[in-house]
C-alpha cells in the first residue's frame, strides 16, 4: 500500500516528466506570411522572368535537437500566381497552364529532413519530399538553410523542376524554345518565435 505522500510525489513527478516531454515535442512555428515568399524563375525566349505566388500556407514543425521528427509542408494557392501583368496572370490559370479549375492548389510535403554533413549545427539540412502540381506528383530533394536570429528562424530553399513533367504549358506551349522546361522554385519562409 503506497502512502498518500508517496502517491502525491509519484503523480507530481509524472506530471513533471510529461511536461518535459511536451516541451521537447516540436510545436508548429508561427509563419510570418508578410515576410515569407514563394517565387518562381524561368526563361522565356532566353529572357529571365520571375513570378511569385502571393498566397500560400506553410507549416513547419521544427525542433533543432530532433530534426528527424520535423515536419514541413506548404500549400500554394495557384490563383495567387503573379507575373506582374493582370492579363497574363489570368491566362496562366487556363487549362493549358495551371488549369486552376481542376487544380486550385499545389503542395509540397517533406518526407525526410536530415542535417547536412559539414554544416554547423542547426543551419543546413537535406530535405526530400513530394511536390504536387496540376495533379502530378514528383520527388524533389534540395538543401535547406536555416538561420536563427532574435525574431525567429528563416528557412531558405530552392530546387529546379521540369514544367513539362507537370504538364504545365500544353499544346503549342510544349515548345521549350518559347518557355524553357526548367523552372526554379525558391522559397523563403520566415517564422516568428512564440515561446522559444
Amino acid at each position: 500500500m503506497i502512502s498518500r505522500s508517496a502517491l502525491i510525489r509519484i503523480v507530481a513527478s509524472s506530471f513533471a516528466v510529461l511536461g518535459l516531454a511536451c516541451s521537447a515535442i516540436a510545436a508548429p512555428l508561427r509563419i510570418d506570411a508578410g515576410k515569407s515568399t514563394v517565387s518562381v524563375a524561368f526563361r522565356q525566349m532566353n529572357v529571365p522572368v520571375e513570378a511569385t505566388f502571393r498566397k500560400f500556407t506553410a507549416r513547419i514543425d521544427f525542433d533543432v535537437t530532433r530534426p528527424a521528427d520535423a515536419k514541413a509542408s506548404i500549400d500554394i494557392d495557384i490563383p495567387s500566381f503573379d507575373l506582374g501583368d493582370a492579363g497574363y496572370n489570368r491566362d496562366v490559370l487556363k487549362k493549358e497552364w495551371f488549369d486552376v479549375a481542376q487544380f486550385p492548389k499545389a503542395s509540397f510535403v517533406a518526407s525526410t529532413i536530415r542535417a547536412s554533413a559539414g554544416a554547423p549545427a542547426g543551419t543546413g539540412y537535406d530535405v526530400a519530399g513530394k511536390l504536387t502540381i496540376k495533379g502530378k506528383t514528383a520527388d524533389v530533394r534540395f538543401p535547406l538553410t536555416v538561420r536563427q536570429d532574435k525574431g525567429g528562424r528563416t528557412f531558405d530553399g530552392a530546387f529546379a523542376i521540369k514544367r513539362l513533367a507537370f504538364n504545365i504549358g500544353e499544346g503549342e506551349w510544349k515548345d521549350t524554345g518559347m518557355v524553357a522546361d526548367e523552372v526554379t522554385i525558391r522559397f523563403h519562409v520566415v517564422t516568428t518565435s512564440s515561446s522559444q
Partner: protein
Amino acid sequence: MEHYTKPAILLHWLIALLIMVTFFLGLTMVDIPGLTPTKLKYFSWHKWLGVTVLALACLRLLWRLTHAAPAYPIEMPRWQQSAAHVLHALLYILIFAIPISGYFYSMAAGIPVVYLGLLPLPVFIDPNPMLKPLLQMTHYWLNMTLASAVCLHILAALKHLLIDRDGIFKRILP
C-alpha cells in the same frame, strides 16, 4: 544641288524601314488576345528592332554632328526652312525617346531585353508596377507623335518632289 553624304542616305532609309516594321509589329502585337507563342515572339522581335533603331540613331546623330547636312537652296522660303529644321529635330528626338521609353517600359514590367535571344542587355531599373503604366502611355503617345511627324515629313517631301520640283527630294536618294 549638293546631296546628303552616302552614309547619311543609307542610315536615313535603313532607320525609316526599321521604324515602319517596328511600328506595325507593335500595333499588331498588342492586339493579339491572350497569351500565345506568336505574341511573345512579336514582343521579342519588336524589342530587338527597337534596340537596333536606337543603336543606328546614335550612329546617325554622330554622323550628322560631324558631317553637315547640305544647305537649303536660297529660293526655298525661310518659313519652310525653319519648319523643316523643327520637324527634323523632332524626328531626331523621337528616334531616341521612343526606343528609350520602350526599353524602360520593358524593365518596369520586369522583362529585361536579351538582344537576339543571345545578349542580355543592361537593366537600369527594377520592376516597378507604378512606373509601368506611365511608361506604357509615354511609349504609345510618343509613337503617335512620330506617326504624325512622319506623315508630315512624307507629305512635305512629296510636295518638294511633285509640286515644287526643286530638287530637294533628290538629295536624300541613293
